[in-house]
Symmetry: C2
Subunit: 143 residues, 2 copies
């Protein structure tokens, strides 16, 4: 469904969101451990998300990554678009570039509703909304 890169991105952003709720910042080492990902690999991903303003960071002592109030309103769809592009939301299920509403592939119409469901779900999933269940250990991000 998502690339591995995107899975890491989502997990990291949810992790940072949780840590950001009380205004604190979190270092890349802690993030990598917290979501069980390669440190430098997730660092690259976060740099990209930072450039796209989905995430904030500061260098130096007491620095780290965090999400401001606006970023906490980001949805998973926003992250997916930055990392994997929007082919999941708009691309043809069979990979046909010329596929469209008026020139559909054999599964175009069936796919439309499925895709819509994915998009709606991801757009409604705001980063700030995962904290409570994580705190209560009703959900998890590593193992």
């Amino acid at each position: 469904m998502f690339s591995k890169t995107c899975e890491y991105a989502i997990r990291a952003m949810i992790f940072i969101a949780q840590k950001s709720k009380d205004g604190s910042k979190v270092g890349i080492k802690e993030i990598a451990k917290g979501i069980d990902s390669p440190e430098h690999f997730i660092a690259k991903i976060l740099q990209e998300l930072g450039r796209k303003r989905l995430l904030q960071s500061v260098k130096g002592p007491n620095g780290g990554f965090y999400l401001d109030d606006e970023s906490l309103q980001c949805s998973l769809a926003d992250i997916v678009k930055v990392v994997d592009g929007d082919k999941l939301f708009t691309g043809c299920g069979l990979g046909l570039k010329q596929c469209s509403e008026t020139h559909p592939c054999p599964i175009h119409h069936e796919f439309r509703s499925v895709r819509k469901g994915i998009q709606t779900m991801l757009e409604n999933a705001k980063l700030g909304a995962f904290t409570e269940e994580l705190e209560k250990s009703l959900t998890f991000l590593k193992r």
Copy 2:
């Protein structure tokens, strides 16, 4: 959503299904052209589908690939399972191996219904059912 390999596989199987309706067989060259894919690459994929009995073939003059009545009843879900495995249907959206109903990731429950939608859609899409619209050029497989 699917790997490129799987996209080719589905396109090829729908193509062969169409040709098989009148009992004729179709060669790998014609398939590759018909779905706009690399010839030897799709050949490999069809060999695998053949080994799994989703597809029939005969060698030699007048040989080629075809689908018997049973294979025409195959669903796209069957093909996806052979080519991409069942991670699309059962895997965690965030790539967490330990994720389950009782130990869910933050998006587990939201994902369940989306995944179910995909699975239902693919299981209901039988290879034999695409022919008519293709014949009428209401849908297409290349460009």
